[in-house]
């Protein structure tokens, strides 16, 4: 096996900025070097290096027993990952696109998520893959899947917004004893504005803790993934009018950092939730009821949401741009809320 480390997993070692995708690849590479129980499964992740080339060079370094090219059967190989986890391994399953996780819904919700509660022991595995729209992928290559699983006790859901978090959170997910669904927005994978020099040390970011992406005191905007960037753009526009928005990046959706949201809400009195996922049954509804329970008397206005439209993701660029929540939507909702 060649000793040379592929460039896309050595940005940090060479002191270069890493893209979101490279941060993911670095996390996988380093965890596989650190712990021989960690192995990868997925479609075309070996010889081909993955649909997005996240695992390019992994097969040569770690061999076919740790980089397993699977048949095209998401249910089958996710179930197999569960069996391997029972036997003490720590599988990381790649969905080529997270839209394809639906065939694995049965085994994820009925078997994997219930394992610990049923007395069958912890189930340390990660299911990761690309999500999100804006790439003209149409209905089958653009979905956000978090809310299909949010309702299932026993799962954790992570959705980072930047390379530093992506690497640190993925390491935590791999080290976690519980099943974690890890969503990676395709729009961030190679986004130039997202490149950053990552910490040189081996760091992990704890699951379940949000971060304040921008401080402010006029309203709170809660977002995750690509929508953090849309919200920050909106906040910059609002700032030109003297409106100071605080932006909370959830990072982990399940378990959710309720207290971070409530603490910000106690300061601002106004709450706007922004997510790219569709509206009905979206996470905004859950956040609204949690803040109703935790911080009702601090609210100085209705809790609002900016989301995608309740439809499948359309294919045409014109339609998709209309479908997706944009900076203009966030600014409009924020102004309304501030003036309420």
């Amino acid at each position: 096996m060649p000793n040379e480390t592929p460039a896309h997993v050595a940005r940090t070692r060479s002191g270069e900025p890493a893209t979101f995708l490279e941060a993911i690849a670095e996390a996988l590479w380093e965890e596989m070097e650190r712990d021989e129980r960690v192995f990868l499964m997925g479609e075309d992740i070996g010889a081909y290096g993955g649909a997005f080339k996240v695992t390019r060079g992994f097969l040569e370094r770690f061999g076919p027993s740790r980089v397993v090219d699977t048949p095209i059967s998401e249910g089958g190989f996710t179930g197999a990952a569960a069996g391997a986890a029972h036997m003490g391994l720590r599988p990381v399953v790649e969905m080529q696109f997270m839209d394809f996780i639906s065939p694995a819904y049965d085994v994820l919700t009925n078997y994997i998520a219930t394992s610990l509660y049923r007395g069958a022991g912890p189930m340390p595995l990660v299911v990761r893959g690309p999500v999100g729209g804006g790439n003209r992928g149409g209905p089958f290559h653009s979905q956000n899947v978090e809310m299909a699983f949010f309702h299932t006790p026993g799962l954790k859901i992570v959705y980072p917004s930047n390379p530093r978090d992506a690497k640190g959170l993925l390491k935590s997910a791999i080290r976690d004893e519980n099943p974690v669904i890890f969503e990676e927005h395709k729009g961030l994978y190679r986004a130039p504005h997202c490149r950053e020099v990552l910490p040189a040390e081996d760091y992990a970011i704890p699951l379940g803790r949000a971060r304040t992406a921008l401080e402010g005191d006029d309203l709170t905007i809660v977002a995750y993934g690509l929508m953090v960037h849309r919200s920050l753009e909106a906040a910059a526009e609002l700032a030109r009018d003297g409106i100071r928005a605080e932006v909370i990046d959830l990072r982990t959706l399940l378990p959710m950092d309720d207290e971070a949201i409530a603490e910000s809400l106690r300061k601002t009195g106004k709450l706007l939730v922004v997510h790219e996922d569709t509206r009905t049954g979206g996470i905004a509804g859950e956040i609204a009821i949690r803040m109703n329970e935790l911080a009702f008397e601090w609210l100085d206005g209705p809790i609002l949401r900016v989301t995608a439209i309740d439809s499948p993701v359309p294919f045409s660029g014109e339609l998709e741009d209309y479908f997706l929540p944009g900076v203009r939507d966030v600014v409009t909702a924020a102004r309304y809320l501030v003036e309420y």
């Binding site: 192995f39 249910g75 197999a80 599988p91 009925n110 610990l116 049923r118 007395g119 008397e297």
Partner: protein
């Protein structure tokens, strides 16, 4: 009768078994038979759900499972007893009392009553089971366990029991395809379905061939042959020759125990047991089941609060505030908004 993929498993012979194995098979057969009667009686006396009044065991399942390397240190073979539970579970070391506790949902059950059905997971014994399995999930999961064995170069094999109806499920085919593709050390037993089965005309030999795995059909063969067929399949698996698919033909209900009875009858000559030995084995099996049946009816269910068990390793979910201890009169509730500092 060829060891090649898509052929029959390599061995079908009736060589006498060693005394230890013969003793185990006799004991397990008796235990399964007594347990079947025990479950039925409990169901009729309302000690178990009435639907179990027709509970039936397939005695072959204990024999097939006993051919695996069953240990209690978490380093042996693994098995999903599935629809043939508890037979394989008994072979993997489960006791009748554990089975009845699990079936009845007692607080003392192996799953602390948070799961029922007929099989449960005990990784130290190598049991991976659950109730409510659908569509070949077990074959997927056990294929993954087998993959882990091969990954680590271990001398271990996975055995999964499914009903033939699994052939109707895409999930089963996904698991089988994966196991065949990676040549996982896996043995899959397909038992006849108990109810109408639209797949009954499917030729399983052809299915096996399509996945490049070995196939064998077993019916009323004597325990020696059942045992050695699985033992041979296991050797193939460990050698890296891939999975074996065992088709278990339906036995007439009244004939189910005949092979076991005949085996017991010839055990004296073939394994050198005396009549006293044989009687002692039978009585020991009966005593274990009688003890379990007598005890299960007296055991209470779990306290309701046991529902708050961890769903993640971080800890159990919080109880609903409406179910907490109410505050004393004239004492504000701890989360009363009126007591919050910013309330107006």
């Amino acid at each position: 009768m060829t060891p090649e993929p898509a052929g029959r498993a390599p061995t079908r012979h009736r060589a006498p078994l060693g005394a230890e194995v013969a003793r185990d098979l006799l004991y397990l057969g008796h235990q399964a038979r007594f347990l079947e009667a025990g479950v039925r009686n409990l169901a009729r006396s309302e000690g178990l759900q009435p639907g179990l009044a027709d509970f039936r065991m397939d005695p072959r399942s204990t024999v097939l499972a006993r051919a695996m390397r069953c240990t209690t240190d978490g380093r042996g073979d693994v098995c999903h007893p599935g629809p043939l539970a508890p037979g394989p579970a008994l072979a993997f070391g489960a006791t009748p009392l554990e089975f009845l506790r699990h079936l009845a949902g007692k607080g003392t059950s192996p799953a602390s009553a948070r799961e029922g059905g007929t099989s449960w997971t005990d990784l130290r014994r190598g049991m991976i089971g659950w109730g409510g399995t659908r569509g070949g999930t077990a074959t997927q999961v056990l294929a993954g366990a087998a993959l882990a064995f091969r990954h680590r170069g271990e001398d271990r094999t996975a055995l999964v029991f499914e009903r033939r109806a699994a052939l109707q499920s895409g999930g089963w085919h996904e698991g089988m395809n994966l196991a065949g593709a990676v040549r996982a050390p896996l043995i899959v037993v397909l038992a006849a379905s108990r109810t109408g089965d639209p797949s009954r005309h499917v030729d399983i030999e052809t299915v096996a061939a399509s996945y490049g795995v070995a196939w064998v059909r077993l019916g009323p063969e004597p325990p020696e042959e059942l045992f050695q067929t699985v033992a041979a399949a296991r050797r193939r698996a460990v050698r890296g020759e891939g999975p074996t698919l065992i088709e278990l033909a339906r036995l007439r209900r009244e004939d189910r125990w005949s092979p076991h009875d005949e085996f017991a009858a010839r055990a004296a000559s073939s394994a050198g047991f005396s009549e006293h030995d044989l009687d002692a084995i039978r009585r020991a099996a009966a005593a274990g089941v009688e003890h379990a049946v007598a005890r299960i009816e007296k055991e209470p269910g779990p306290p309701p609060g046991d529902a708050l068990a961890p769903v993640c390793t971080d800890g159990p979910p919080p109880p609903p505030w409406t179910r907490r201890e109410p505050p004393a009169p004239d004492t504000p509730a701890p989360d009363d908004p009126a007591e919050r500092p910013h309330a107006e």
